[in-house]
């Protein structure tokens, strides 16, 4: 087993808890600790060495749960309209539901940016940032069913028993800010699969995602137990001081015990987290101009929260677009798509511009996409079915080459045919950007070494900047 982190048999080390340092800290300020000293402690984390120099230090994923249709947005296919109503052999593929002939795409595309990449006119703001975006048009996955496809995208398998991508990131990279959870999941409600999507499974529990329903914008409502219902922080700091005095009294004459010290130290961090997290989730703290730039709505709020968390060192922020699966447009596809795009366009563009202005885009990888795409053929006349044969995602920042498109689907946008990218390949490439070798990021469990990419996956060098 080769892994970049401390030996995993030592959970304290894996938790990034240093030993002698913790002890000396405990001894140091006894009896004199005040609220101010507690809060002033450094928020550094335990960053692990990577396999090679990372291009990205953190990741934001914008998850269009339900699955958007590639040829509406980033992968124009005029042949769909040319052959509207027909069902040529190329599109005679079995998906979840019965489908009919090709359903025309009523949306126009504009060559955008200096790269001239075509972007749908449904996304006028996003057209302006396309030069920072690498469009991947040749994704494919294993199963055209939401649950298994969500698991594949998140956990690298179609079944819910493996650690999520984000927990692998944390396991591999450690945390940059221990006053915040390292892996945050934002959803204004619940996606159709739940905690399995951000589980740490057999990885240590500290690597699991912290799920936050941000439809309530009060930070106290977002994280379980973040703040006490009535206790003043000054009282809590006195309680922590008492705890430390008592622990020291009890350990008199005994050698220090790392496990006990670690728990005390975690108490101090928890105390600070109350304020650090409250601050990180405080959207009101943003200037009006920035709020305005992102726009309104849950998704806009999530994008802005994602930026606030990323700049504070949260490794992975995963944003689910909405409750349930809003992009699952089996009926009335075009009207729904218009509304959905109007909702994502501005925040998505604002996020990239904002990250760039702050110098964060260079080492923040942004991922966009659904668990699969949709069919060019119609379902029931005005809907589109799930499509795992071919779909589009995009990446931006974090060492990815902007203003390019990679891979291609067939002439109707149904099936990936050129430079095909399986989800395992996507995972391998993301880990690569984070400085991690997907074949060496392993964890020994139940007698085997596990990887995010199982026995598959290849890094795609063509899209690296």
């Amino acid at each position: 087993m080769i892994h970049p982190s401390p030996p995993i048999s030592d959970p304290l080390a894996a938790a990034g808890i240093s030993r002698r340092e913790a002890l000396s800290r405990l001894g140091g300020g006894l009896g004199t600790l005040s609220l101010a000293t507690l809060l002033a402690a450094d928020a550094g984390g335990a960053v692990h060495a990577t396999h090679f120099a990372p291009r990205a230090k953190r990741v934001i994923q914008l998850f269009m749960n339900g699955g958007p249709f590639q040829a509406d947005l980033f992968d124009p296919k005029p042949a769909i309209n040319q052959y509207a109503g027909q069902r040529p052999d190329t599109v005679n593929l079995r998906t979840e539901n019965a489908t009919g002939g090709l359903m025309p795409v009523p949306f126009a595309f504009t060559p955008s940016g200096s790269s001239g990449l075509p972007v749908s006119d449904l996304l006028p703001n996003f057209q302006r940032v396309i030069d920072d975006v690498c469009v991947l048009r040749s994704l494919h996955t294993d199963n055209p069913n939401h649950g298994p496809a969500l698991f594949m995208m998140n956990n690298g398998t179609i079944i819910p028993t493996r650690p999520s991508m984000g927990s692998w990131f944390l396991y591999g990279l450690g945390t940059e800010n221990e006053n915040l959870p390292g892996y945050v999941v934002l959803c204004p409600g619940r996606p159709v699969r739940f905690a399995e999507l951000w589980t740490s499974a057999f990885l240590p529990g500290e690597h699991q995602g912290t799920y936050i329903n941000h439809s309530q914008l009060d930070p106290r409502q977002m994280i379980s137990f973040l703040r006490h219902a009535s206790r003043e922080p000054s009282v809590q700091s006195r309680q922590i001081e008492l705890l430390k005095r008592l622990e020291q009294e009890r350990s008199l004459g005994r050698a220090g015990d790392d496990a006990l010290d670690a728990r005390l130290r975690a108490m101090e961090v928890a105390f600070r987290m109350q304020f650090a997290a409250t601050d990180a989730f405080q959207l009101e703290a943003e200037p009006a101009a920035v709020r305005e730039e992102y726009g309104e709505g849950h998704f806009a709020n999530a994008c802005l929260l994602a930026r606030r968390l990323s700049e504070r060192g949260v490794r992975f922020v995963q944003v689910y677009y909405g409750n349930g699966q809003p992009w699952d447009t089996h009926t009335n596809h075009n009207e729904q798509t218009k509304k959905l795009c109007a909702d994502i366009d501005r925040p998505m563009a604002a996020l990239l511009m904002d990250l760039k202005r702050r110098g964060l885009l260079a080492d923040t990888l942004v991922i966009w996409g659904g668990e699969f795409g949709r069919t060019p053929v119609s379902e029931g006349g005005d809907g589109r079915d799930h499509n795992h044969f071919g779909f589009t995602m995009w990446l931006a920042g974090g060492g990815v080459r902007g203003g390019m498109a990679y891979g291609a689907t067939d002439e109707f946008g149904f099936r990936a045919v050129e430079n095909r990218l399986h989800i395992h390949d996507l995972h391998a490439t993301i880990l690569h950007l984070l400085g991690l070798d997907h074949e060496r990021l392993t964890y020994r469990y139940a007698g085997r070494d596990f990887r995010l990419t199982d026995v598959y996956g290849r890094v795609v060098p063509d899209i690296l900047a």
Partner: protein
């Protein structure tokens, strides 16, 4: 070769496998130049070198050559032999017949499973050239250098040597080696101690002094019942001068009905128990299984019987009706969604994933062998062949998850039929009433049906009988259901052998493998299972052929929970990749006596807890620390951190709010008013309660060999801010006030007795007084006093002493 559409997502198992072991395969190296085929000409070779080799090099060799780190699918396309032999799916080419050649089908993307290269189709011209090459007979120039294809390359696939495999330490019969005579006889209480003393002496170590009585009773109580002793129990034990005081303490705890709760929960981790399985798994009463486990342990049901009933209560002749609940071991297996609108091939993959999970849970729990590693190829490290995996998978492919009331078979069938009938009637009612508007005659019809439902329920006395998650024998078949759908069919009472899945892919079947036990653990050649699905045969083989291993694994689990460290530190992996025992002779001796004593777990607890080793202090001494800081030799007791269950239960017990009732339906743990023991907190497979999620409770989607304790700020946020902790502090404050009214020192003292089983030190009392005075006690105003005490007691509840046991 990478399978494009339906990738078997098995674990990372290193690709070392043999091609399938089918005996009708042509011997390697013959296909390319079969007699009767034209002998390749120089022109053929030139064609190959100019057109074909560059194609292979550019598009295929990355994954299919001896340069590849692990040749995918065992296929080598850089030598004639490799092309002829092919990979897991058989020969890559049929010389002269491009249309029948897998290689050509794959590059044309016409093969159902295999489409190569994975990143996209080759240009049409290249495909045509490859086809032309096969048409010519697939000529491949002889290599001039040494042929490396058989020089220990992984694809060569050495068959597993079973006899040699049986020599591995954990697969050998138990060897009883009496402990070496050692000095320090006075210290020795049990045979265990003699073994430990011998190795300590070899390393120049000496044992630690015996722990004091307070420590011992606290340690023993948490170990056996998961609850702290009451101050009264402590005082009685401390004052008891009789020589058998300690032995009686252990007996009392072993006889407690709370023993089964403590040890049952350990078992539930192994079998990924949950109260609420997947939404489509039905709404049975999972807790019947949990309660059966608790009760079986309390009755000290022999471990072999305990497991046999869990695997096959429906086949055990003298099983009681209640024992049907034991089938929850398999009955509560995770199931994965099967979307019947998808093709049968997709659903077969899902079903195969379920088998793997079940094989893994069975073999990891009971045998400490990671058999599931052999789903795609022979086990890389252990003598477990892919055939062994499918021999067990057949048992699970013949076992169906079913709801069953705990009633005699006839009555059970009757009740299930009635429930079916009621469901059908209810569905009719719903359909009638779903109309808008409801025609009057349909309204009448619905009312009649409702009356019939009511009458039928009334006429069925067992109607509210809870349904256990059980299993029965039925073979599962995934079949097309018309052109657009799939059905999963169970054939009741039937069993089936399943074909080996080449490289784990159910759509690529190999030999059919008879259901049987693992070869390496069988005495002689394993015989096919005889009884139905084979679950009973499997249980018998485990406790007959594999009894030594089964006993070693269970003894080690019990040892590990008592000492905080196993004799083998990988409790579910006794294979080559697992840990080696620190004390092999001790482990074998205990395992042999465990079997001889009728597989009694209570005997095992007694044997361990009456040892001098278990009664040592946990405080390290400098000599020991210098030689063996990890305490592998057990020269002291380990300080252990309580699991979340015991920690929460201890708080409830100390605050006098614990509901000690045993068994029954679970209760939501996120509800702060829940006062039941934590084992009765609702476990949802897909969403754990906050407390469980934060405190390292294992993911109930899979077997958990051991919990991995973590220390995180989110845990401490729970301590700081959760209503549960606040409520316990409040209850404890009220208790102290009523038991020791208006006496600060007495209250502090009582709090320490209740929480930590001891008196506070002078320093602790002083600190407490200072804090309380500052926090508002000094003023004497009742609400301020109460608040001061809440703050103080919250800190005591947060103390390490409540979470760590010496």
């Amino acid at each position: 070769m990478r399978i494009q559409l339906l990738i078997p997502l098995t674990a990372l198992c290193v690709v070392l496998a043999a091609a399938s072991a089918r005996s009708d395969e042509p011997p390697a190296g013959q296909a390319a130049e079969t007699p009767g085929r034209p002998i390749p000409t120089a022109d053929d070779y030139a064609f190959f070198e100019s057109r074909i080799r560059p194609l292979l090099v550019e598009h295929c060799h990355e994954c299919h050559s001896r340069q590849a780190e692990t040749p995918q699918a065992g296929l080598l396309l850089d030598n004639a032999d490799g092309i002829a032999r092919g990979g897991d799916s058989g020969p890559a080419v049929v010389p002269g017949r491009p249309d029948d050649s897998l290689l050509i089908q794959a590059v044309r993307y016409t093969h159902e499973l295999v489409q190569m290269p994975p990143a996209g189709q080759l240009p049409e011209a290249a495909i045509a050239e490859l086809a032309a090459w096969v048409e010519r007979g697939a000529p491949f120039p002889p290599t001039t250098g040494p042929d490396l294809s058989s020089a220990g390359q992984p694809v060569a696939g050495q068959p597993i040597d079973i006899e040699q495999g049986k020599q591995f330490w954990s697969f050998r019969p138990l060897v009883e080696v009496p402990p070496a005579p050692a000095a320090g006889q006075a210290w020795i209480e049990r045979r265990i101690d003699a073994y430990l003393m011998a190795t300590m002496q070899t390393s120049g170590l000496s044992p630690s002094p015996r722990a004091d009585r307070r420590t011992l009773i606290r340690r023993a109580s948490f170990d056996l019942v998961g609850l702290p002793p009451t101050p009264e129990e402590i005082e009685a034990f401390v004052r008891d001068d009789s020589p058998d005081a300690y032995a009686r303490l252990i007996e009392r705890l072993l006889a407690s009905p709370h023993y089964g709760e403590r040890w049952g929960r350990y078992w539930l981790d192994l079998v990924r128990y949950c109260d609420v399985p997947e939404p489509w798994a039905g709404s049975g009463a999972a807790w019947l299984y949990r309660d059966w486990i608790v009760d079986a342990l309390n009755r000290d049901l022999p471990y072999d019987r305990f497991v046999t009933l869990q695997l096959a209560a429906d086949h055990v002749p003298d099983a009681r009706v209640e024992d049907i609940a034991a089938l929850g071991f398999l009955g509560l297996s995770p199931t994965y969604w099967k979307e019947l609108k998808l093709a049968p091939g997709v659903i077969q993959v899902v079903v195969a994933e379920e088998w793997e999970e079940r094989v893994n849970t069975l073999t990891s729990t009971l045998l400490g062998v990671t058999v599931a590693c052999a789903r795609c190829h022979d086990h890389k490290f252990d003598p477990v062949a892919q055939h062994d995996y499918y021999a067990l998978a057949g048992v699970l492919a013949s076992t169906r998850l079913v709801p069953r009331p705990l009633l005699p078979a006839g009555e059970a069938a009757g009740l299930l039929a009635t429930l079916d009938e009621l469901r059908t009637m209810q569905a009719q009612v719903d359909k009638l009433l779903a109309q808008n508007p409801v025609p009057p005659e349909d309204k009448t019809k619905a009312d009649e049906l409702k009356a019939q439902i009511k009458a039928l329920r009334k006429a069925t006395p067992a109607i509210d009988e809870p349904l256990a998650f059980a299993v029965d024998d039925a073979s599962v078949h995934v079949l097309p259901d018309g052109p657009h759908r799939t059905m999963v069919e169970y054939r009741a009472g039937q069993a089936q052998d399943v074909p080996l899945h080449i490289r784990g892919n159910p759509l690529n079947p190999g030999d059919v493998v008879p259901r049987r036990f693992l070869a390496v653990l069988s005495q002689g050649t394993p015989e096919p299972f005889q009884h139905g699905s084979g679950r009973l045969d499997l249980a018998q083989a485990i406790f007959d052929d594999a009894a030594p291993l089964a006993a070693r694994v269970m003894v080690n689990r019990v040892w590990r929970h008592h000492f905080g460290r196993g004799l083998v530190e990988t409790p579910s992996n006794f294979g080559a990749q697992g840990d080696r025992p620190t004390h092999p002779e001790l482990l074998d001796d205990l395992a042999a006596r465990f079997i001889a004593g009728g597989w009694s777990l209570k005997w095992l607890h007694r044997e361990i807890m009456l040892s001098a080793a278990w009664r040592q202090q946990s405080t390290p001494h400098a000599d020991g620390q210098a030689v063996d800081p990890d305490n592998r030799h057990l020269w002291r007791m380990n300080r252990r951190r309580l699991e979340v269950e015991a920690w929460r239960d201890a708080m409830l017990a100390a605050c006098d709010s614990l509901d000690r009732s045993i068994g029954g339906p679970p209760a939501e743990l996120n509800e702060p008013a829940n006062r039941r023991r934590t084992i009765y907190g609702t476990v949802k497979r897909r969403e754990l309660a906050d407390l469980l999620r934060l405190y390292d409770f294992p993911d109930p989607t899979a077997h958990s060999p051991a919990r991995l304790p973590t220390t995180t700020p989110l845990q401490q946020l729970y301590v700081l801010n959760s209503p549960f902790i606040g409520r316990q502090a409040e209850l404890l404050a009220a208790r102290l006030q009523s038991e020791r009214p208006a006496d600060t020192k007495a209250q502090v003292s009582r709090a320490h007795q209740l929480l930590f089983g001891r008196e506070p030190t002078v320093g602790e009392v002083t600190i407490a007084r200072e804090f309380l005075a500052q926090a508002g006690e000094a003023g004497g105003e009742p609400s301020a006093v109460a608040e001061a005490w809440r703050q103080y007691l919250e800190v005591l509840l947060a103390s390490n002493e409540l979470m760590f046991i010496d």
